[in-house]
Symmetry: C2
Subunit: 337 residues, 2 copies
DNA sequence: CTGTTAGCGCCTTCAA
DNA sequence: TTGAAGGCGCTAACAG
């Protein structure tokens, strides 16, 4: 592959001059600039960023690690991050951890070896690699956690206002006449899930309703497993709940499948609402009441935090940004008659 | 950040020795290996791949460019490619072109500058940058096109058997008693779309049905625009078609929305089937008959082609792999009574 | 303005 | 088995 040296030779100038026309740094006279441009085109020359990065000690690259890009939420986060990064002249590389702790460690290490300047991280559902993260920050690699915020770890984060948003949704259900409301959750070990459960309890409390532990259905993030779990619960439950709220998208799919198999009509027989959007939910019959997470914003705000750290090199204490979610009211939670 | 030199100093050995223990190349005696390992840990040393890549002239990295990761099809393609790349010791970086020709050029250039060894490319819906691609191949960067295969461009490709799969779906509709079948397509300038249209014509022909140009509804890939288009067509159409086949996912969403707004019940009033899966289609009422593309396989086979090129450095003529799609029969195409 | 040159951090001969 | 040294391609001083 052509090098800057070859270009210089062909153009009859020094490598310094070629470098100058490429980077647009120092001034180059018009005639030389033209000759260089011609040589570049003729040789089909493309600057070698590997060499440039080594020399400048900068890569202008940031990485983002997500558990699984095939979950619709994450590509939106990535898109948000990408748009901010790009405007700032940064390149964003996205990778999947497969929600696997070991792979996540590996990827962090790999990105660090690649000398990305910062990393946006949506933690896998495993013990967070706190030591690794702290040492990266120490070494000057900025890290911002998105969506899933680790406890006791001084790192910038962006998440949604879980409790507030859930409270809003549950209050909506209560306001529409539902009383016995079950909540189907993912693993409560995840902070997001437990915070949403907290919002649920707060809403019940505020409305003077009693919290029934038997209405907390803890599941996981695989729709089919959740479906089984719900069917099991519905069987055991003395009298179905009047409504179900699910705390995330995959869980919602499982719940809806279970209701369908159980021939429970929404909202005729049972009310329903969920955290997370369901992509094509405007096609679902009936339309679903949803707490819409601002996925794009989570990505973009995260990238902003990250770039700020990069620029200012400040050691300000870690910030956690909690963005608002919106309640989109559909037919699935229609007033109980 | 710690360098190999610092590690060598701390361990009291030469850089060469440190390098040897890291890469596992030459033999290193146990005592030295231990000392080096200790130094590495103490300094929190991470090898600098930028420098390594410059030296070795290899990056063990491949890129994949997709139009839009928020379309569910593409993350699956990426996942397929990633699994193959990873097994071969390659790192995959995924980026979005936003289906924009200029951005696509930019990204190709960027990836090349980063010295990726190969690129998996799902072309944007624009004039393919043939010159750029050919020059990259010439320069030794392998390129494999996925899903969208450019005409007249000698480049390895993986796509689905568009015509055959569509024929299968249309034959299924015909077999279930539908006669006047409309086809809603994306831009027919896209080869995938036109090939699917070809399959449609073939199926009609084989069944002895006449092809009616007025039943070809060409749209684009934005559901809302497609929805408008369909409503317009339904209004003008003398007598609704008995069924609609849509040639891709986004278009399908548009069609379904239009039918819903038009209060046409599927399959009671009109039959429906589509190319592409609709993520949550098992929740749709009724379930949708679908031509399922093997997205993961497209990615993995593409990566295999790419890695083969990298390994063998062969100049074999370009191969195009056409993978099979599967018809998943749902209620939306139920036998016409 | 333009040319020259010293490394960036690492791997890889080549000697010892 | 270990150490020393050259150079990958490029940028950024600095000297002319």
């Amino acid at each position: 592959m052509a090098t800057i040296k070859k270009v210089a030779e062909l153009a009859g100038v020094s490598v310094g001059t070629v470098s100058n026309v490429i980077t647009g740094g120092a001034m180059v006279s018009e005639p030389l600039r033209v000759k260089v441009a011609a040589a570049i085109r003729e040789l089909n020359y493309h600057p070698n960023f590997v060499a440039r990065n080594l020399k400048t000690q900068r890569t202008r690259t940031v990485g983002i690690i997500v558990p699984d890009m095939t979950i619709p939420f994450f590509p939106q986060v990535i898109a948000g991050a990408e748009s901010v990064a790009r405007k700032a002249g940064y390149f964003l590389m996205a990778v999947n951890s497969g929600d696997d702790g070991a792979r996540q460690r590996e990827l962090l290490s790999l990105l660090r070896a690649q000398r990305v300047e910062g990393i946006l991280l949506v933690l896998a559902a495993a013990e967070p690699p706190s030591d690794q993260i702290l040492r990266m920050i120490e070494a000057g690699v900025a890290v911002v956690c998105l969506d899933r915020v680790p406890d006791y770890l001084g790192v910038d984060s962006v998440c949604v206002q879980n409790a507030a948003a859930t409270r809003m949704a549950i209050e909506h259900l209560i306001g529409n006449g539902y009383r016995r409301i079950a909540i189907a959750t993912g693993p409560l070990a995840l902070r997001n899930e437990s915070e949403r459960l907290t919002g649920y309890r707060e809403a019940l409390h505020n409305a003077g309703l009693t919290f029934e532990p038997s209405l907390v259905w803890e599941g996981n993030l695989r729709p089919d497993a959740v479906c089984e779990m719900c069917i099991c619960r519905l069987t055991r439950c003395l009298g179905s709940p009047e409504a179900i709220f699910s705390t995330n998208g995959p869980t919602a799919l499982g719940v809806l499948r279970a209701l369908r198999r159980w021939s429970l009509r929404v909202p005729l027989d049972i009310g329903f609402a969920t955290f997370d959007e369901l992509t094509v939910d405007d096609l679902l019959e009936p339309s679903i009441t949803t707490v819409a997470q601002p996925a794009f914003e989570i990505g973009s705000r995260g990238a902003e935090l990250l770039l700020n750290r990069l620029r200012s090199k400040d050691d300000a204490p870690a910030r956690t940004l909690a963005v608002e979610a919106n309640l989109r009211i559909g037919e699935s939670s229609r007033r109980r008659t």
